[in-house]
C-alpha cells in the first residue's frame, strides 16, 4: 500500500485508539480520574500516539527506522501529477505548495471561528452562543490563527523559495523539511479535536490556573502546540542550515536576497524560542496527567511560571510573524519600483536587531501581573528599543518607495497595504509598551485591534501579496489581475473597517473575551461585525480567482512576468526537479534596478565561464543578460542583468 494522506489518517486513527486504550489501562484507577470522570492521560496518550501514527502513515518514519540498520537513503524519483501533493516528498517546491494549502486550511478555519465571534458581538445582549461556547470559539480562533501565522510565510515561501534564491538544488535536510510540514498538519487535526472534547476556554495564551482546571479540550491545546512547535523547530532548523551551507558560489552574505535574511532571522527565533514553549506545554501536560504542580500555587508551583515561559516564546513569536512579512514586501518593492532596495544592509541588520531584542521584552506582558513593579521601566525601555530596528526595516521600504515610478500590480498593492496597516499597528504598539497606557487598556479590544493590525494587517497581507507574486513561478499560471484587484480592495477596506473601530471600543472600555458589552458600543460593534463578514467574503474572491486562473481559464505565465532580477525567476517554469542544471555562479545581488552598469546576477550555465564575462566587461555581460537565449538546456546563461529601464 503506497503511503499517502489516507494511510496517514488511518495511522492516526489507529494510533489514537492504541494511545487511548493505553491511557485507560494506566490511569483509569487513579483517584483523580475516578473522582472527576476525566482521564487526561488517555487523551494525551491518544493524541501523541495519533500524531506518531500520522507520521508513520505518511512515511516520515521510514528513513529514521531504516537508519537503525544502517541503510542509505533511497533517492527520490521526480514525480508529476496532483497526487504528489498528498504524499511525503523530498522536493522543496512541492513541500512549499503543500504548505500553502495547509496554512490556508488553518486560515479559513480560524476565519470561520472569527466570524462566529463577530456574529455573537452583533448584539450586546441577544446571544447566539452561550458564554462557554463563545470562549471556546475565541480560544480556537486565536490558537489556530497563531499556529497558522508561525508558519504562514516560513512554511510555504521559505521552503519553496530559499533554495532557489540562494542557488541551491535542495534544502539541507529534505526529509526534515517534509516532516516539518506533515507534523504541522497533524497539529491542525489535534487542535480541531478539542471541539468534540469540550473545547478550552483559556484563549490562545492558555493561562494557568484555568489551564489546569479546564476540560479535556485543553489537552488538545497542549499537545497541539507541542506538535506545531516541533514542526516550527524543524522548519527553522532546516532553513538556517540551508542558508548557511547551501549558498551557491558567489552568494556572499551581502548578496543574499532580503527575503532570505528575513527567513534566517525568523528561523533563529523559531529554533531558539520555541523549545522553551515546548517545555512549558510539556509541563502543562504533566500537570494535567501525572499530577505534577508546576503551575499549581498551592502545591509549590506558580501560575506565573507559565506566564514567563509562555511569553519568553510568545513575544519572539510576534516577530516570527512580523519579520517574514517585511521580508516579502522588501523583496517585491524593488521589482515594482524599478529601484535598488534602499539601505539593504540596514534592513538586514534591522531584522537581526528585532530578533535579538525580542528575547528581552517578554515581561511587558506581565506588567499587570507577576512582575515586581520596579522592573517595569526596564522592560518598557527594552520594548520601546525594539521600535528602532523595526523602524529601520520600515524606512528601508519608505526609502525604496521614495520618488519611485510605482507599478501598481496586485502584489504591489498588498505591499503598500502592509506599510499602511503596520504603521497603525506599530504606532499603537509603541503606546502599549508604555506602562501607563498598557495598564489602562490591558485586556481590552484596543490590544486586540493592535495585534490584528500587525499580524493580519502585516503578515497576512504580505502572504497574499507573495501568493500573487510567486504563483506564476509555482504553478506556471498568472492569477487573474482584475479579480486580484477586487480581492485586494475588498480585503484592504473591510480589514480596516473591521479592526479600526475596535481601537475605539477598546478605549471606551470593552474587554476581550467577554460576550456581553455595554449597549452604547453596539453601533461600532455592528459596523465591525458586518465589515468582518465582507472581509471574510473577500477571501472567497481569492479562492474564485485561484480556481478560475488555475483550472477554468488557465493562462500560461511567462518565465519572468514581473521582470525581476531575482534568481528564482531565472529558472524555467515549471522548475526542474533539481532547480539548476548547473550550480549557478552568483555575481551580484538582485536589486540593481535602473543601474545601466549593473552586473548580471548570476551565471547559470557555467559553459560560458566567468572569464568571458570579465573579459567582455560588465556591459557585454549585461547585454547577454537580457537576451535569455536559453542555450539549449532550458536555462539562460547570464541572467538578471542589464539596463532594463
Amino acid at each position: 500500500m503506497q503511503q499517502s494522506v489516507l494511510t496517514a489518517l488511518l495511522g492516526s486513527a489507529i494510533g489514537y485508539l492504541v494511545g487511548h486504550w493505553l491511557g485507560n489501562l494506566i490511569a483509569s484507577g487513579y483517584p483523580v480520574v475516578q473522582s472527576s470522570g476525566y482521564n487526561n492521560v488517555a487523551i494525551v496518550l491518544g493524541l501523541c500516539f495519533g500524531v506518531v501514527g500520522w507520521m508513520v502513515g505518511i512515511g516520515t518514519m521510514n528513513y529514521p527506522l531504516a537508519k537503525l540498520v544502517g541503510r542509505e537513503p533511497v533517492p527520490e524519483s521526480p514525480t508529476e501529477g496532483w497526487t504528489r501533493f498528498f504524499k511525503m516528498t523530498l522536493d522543496h517546491k512541492v513541500v512549499g505548495m503543500q504548505y500553502i494549502v495547509g496554512v490556508l486550511m488553518f486560515f479559513f478555519t480560524g476565519g470561520l471561528f472569527a466570524m462566529a465571534i463577530r456574529t455573537e458581538l452583533l448584539s450586546p445582549t441577544t446571544h447566539y452562543w452561550g458564554p462557554d461556547t463563545y470562549l471556546q470559539l475565541v480560544s480556537e480562533h486565536g490558537t489556530i490563527m497563531m499556529m497558522m501565522a508561525t508558519s504562514l510565510v516560513v512554511g510555504p515561501f521559505g521552503n519553496f523559495l530559499v533554495p532557489l534564491m540562494i542557488g541551491s538544488r535542495k534544502m539541507a535536510f529534505p526529509r526534515v523539511e517534509a516532516a516539518s510540514f506533515w507534523i504541522f498538519m497533524s497539529g491542525f487535526l489535534v487542535i480541531l479535536a478539542a471541539l468534540p472534547l469540550g473545547g478550552f476556554n483559556t484563549g490562545w495564551t492558555g493561562y494557568a490556573p484555568l489551564q489546569t482546571e479546564a476540560k479535556q479540550g485543553m489537552d488538545c491545546y497542549l499537545v497541539g502546540f507541542a506538535v506545531i512547535g516541533t514542526g516550527m523547530i524543524l522548519n527553522g532548523f532546516n532553513q538556517i542550515v540551508t542558508i548557511v551551507n547551501y549558498r551557491a558560489p558567489g552568494m556572499r552574505w551581502t548578496r543574499l536576497p532580503i527575503f532570505v535574511w528575513s527567513m534566517l532571522a525568523t528561523s533563529f527565533l523559531l529554533t531558539l524560542a520555541t523549545p522553551v514553549f515546548f517545555g512549558a506545554v510539556y509541563f502543562g501536560a504533566l500537570d494535567r496527567t501525572v499530577q505534577t504542580a508546576f503551575f499549581v500555587d498551592a502545591h509549590g508551583g506558580s501560575s506565573f511560571l507559565w506566564e514567563n515561559l509562555f511569553w519568553f516564546f510568545g513575544h519572539p513569536e510576534v516577530y516570527i510573524m512580523a519579520l517574514p512579512g517585511f521580508g516579502i514586501v522588501a523583496e517585491m518593492l524593488p521589482v515594482f519600483t524599478r529601484k535598488p532596495l534602499f539601505a539593504y544592509k540596514v534592513g538586514a541588520a534591522g531584522m537581526f536587531g528585532v530578533a535579538l531584542l525580542s528575547f528581552f521584552v517578554w515581561q511587558h506582558h506581565l506588567f499587570q501581573s507577576g512582575i515586581n513593579p520596579d522592573m517595569r521601566p526596564l522592560f518598557m525601555l527594552t520594548t520601546e528599543l525594539i521600535s528602532i530596528p523595526t523602524g529601520f526595516i520600515y524606512l528601508v521600504g519608505m526609502g525604496t518607495l521614495w520618488k519611485a515610478r510605482i507599478r501598481y500590480t496586485v502584489p504591489m498593492l498588498f505591499c503598500l497595504a502592509l506599510y499602511f496597516n503596520f504603521l497603525i499597528g506599530g504606532v499603537t504598539g509603541v503606546y502599549l509598551s508604555d506602562v501607563p497606557v498598557n495598564v489602562t487598556v490591558h485586556g481590552s479590544f484596543f490590544v486586540m485591534a493592535h495585534f490584528h493590525y500587525t499580524i493580519m494587517g502585516g503578515l497576512v497581507f504580505a502572504f497574499f501579496g507573495g501568493v500573487y507574486y510567486w504563483m506564476p513561478k509555482m504553478t506556471g499560471h498568472m492569477l487573474n489581475d482584475r479579480l486580484g484587484k477586487i480581492h485586494f480592495w475588498f480585503m484592504f477596506v473591510f480589514f480596516n473597517f473591521t479592526f479600526f473601530p475596535l481601537f475605539i471600543v477598546g478605549l471606551l472600555g470593552m474587554p476581550r473575551r467577554v460576550f456581553e458589552y455595554a449597549p452604547r458600543l453596539a453601533h461600532l460593534n455592528d459596523f465591525s461585525s458586518i465589515s468582518s463578514f465582507v472581509l471574510g467574503a473577500s477571501f472567497l474572491i481569492f479562492v474564485a480567482n485561484f480556481v478560475w486562473s488555475i483550472w477554468i481559464d488557465p493562462k500560461p505565465a511567462p518565465q519572468n512576468p514581473w521582470d525581476s532580477k531575482g534568481l528564482e525567476w531565472q529558472v524555467p517554469t515549471p522548475i526542474p526537479y533539481d532547480n539548476f542544471k548547473r550550480i549557478p555562479i552568483v555575481l551580484a545581488d538582485p536589486y540593481h534596478y535602473g543601474e545601466p552598469d549593473a552586473l548580471p546576477v548570476a551565471d547559470l550555465g557555467g559553459e560560458l565561464g566567468l572569464a568571458s564575462v570579465g573579459a567582455a566587461g560588465p556591459s557585454a555581460a549585461a547585454g547577454a543578460g537580457t537576451s535569455r537565449t536559453g542555450a539549449g538546456d532550458g536555462q539562460s546563461r547570464i541572467v538578471g542583468g542589464g539596463p532594463d529601464e
Binding site: L272, V276, L286, Q291, R582
Partner: protein, 215 residues
C-alpha cells in the same frame, strides 16, 4: 569581477555539494545543541523560579529526594558514554574500525542503560509528583532526560549500524575512518557531531545531577 568565483565543472560541483553536506552536518549539530539548550533552560528556569518564589513554602519538603544512587548511575552512564565515544572516535580515524565498533557498542549499551535506569528511578520514587515544586521539576527533568538520552543513543546506534554496513565496501580504502569516498566523509562528519552532542549531554547530566542531588 576580479573576485568572482570560478565556474564549477561537473566534478567540482560534486565536491562542492559534498562540502555543503559536511558543512550542513556541522551546523546542524551546533544548532541542535542550541535547541536542546533552550529546552533544558525551561527546566532550569522552572527549577530556579519555583525555588525562589516558593509561594506555599513547598519547594522541597523533607523526604522528597529521588533515589540518589540511581540518579548518579544515570549521570555516570551518560558521562561514560561520552568518554568512550570520545576515546573511540580518534581510533576510527586511525583506521582501527573494529575498536571503534566495540567501543561504540558499549556507548549504545550505556545509553540504553542510563535511559532504563531513569525510567526505573521514576518507579522507585517515595513521593507523589505534585507534592512540591522540586518534585514537579524533577519529574519534568526525568521525562526530558529519557527522551534526550534515547535520542543521543539513537544517533550513535545509527552510526554504528552504518559503519558495519559500510565496512566491507570501504575496507580497501582503510575503512570509514580513512576513506575519501563521499559516504565515508559524511559518516565522519556525523560522527564528529555525535561525539560533540554526547559531550554536551554529559555536561547537562552533571549539571542537573548537581541541581537535584547536591544543591
Amino acid at each position: 569581477m576580479s573576485d568572482a568565483p570560478a565556474a564549477l565543472d561537473v566534478h567540482a560541483e560534486a565536491e562542492f555539494e559534498l562540502q555543503n553536506a559536511e558543512g550542513a552536518i556541522w551546523t546542524a549539530t551546533r544548532l541542535l545543541i542550541g535547541i536542546v539548550t533552550f529546552a533544558w533552560s525551561a527546566v532550569a528556569f522552572a527549577y530556579f523560579y519555583l525555588r525562589a518564589v516558593d509561594p506555599a513554602q513547598l519547594w522541597r519538603p523533607h523526604g522528597t529526594t529521588p533515589p540518589v544512587l540511581l540518579g548518579t548511575l544515570v549521570a555516570l552512564g551518560v558521562v561514560g558514554g561520552a568518554l568512550i565515544n570520545a576515546y573511540a572516535a580518534p581510533r576510527l580515524r586511525r583506521g582501527e574500525t573494529a575498536d571503534w565498533i566495540f567501543a561504540t557498542s558499549v556507548t549504545v549499551g550505556l545509553g540504553l542503560l542510563a535511559a532504563g535506569l531513569q525510567v526505573w528511578q521514576l518507579t522507585r520514587l517515595s513521593f507523589f509528583p505534585g507534592v512540591s515544586g522540586y518534585t514537579s521539576v524533577f519529574i519534568g527533568f526525568a521525562g526530558l532526560n529519557i527522551a534526550f538520552i534515547l535520542g543521543g543513543t539513537y544517533w550513535v546506534e545509527t552510526l554504528l549500524a552504518r559503519a558495519i554496513r559500510l565496512r566491507p565496501a570501504l575496507a580497501a580504502e582503510g575503512g570509514p575512518g580513512l576513506s575519501t569516498l563521499p559516504a565515508a566523509r559524511e559518516f565522519r562528519a556525523s560522527l564528529e557531531g555525535c561525539t560533540y552532542f554526547w559531550w554536551y549531554m554529559a555536561i547537562i547530566s552533571v549539571l542537573f545531577w548537581f541541581l537535584f542531588y547536591v544543591l
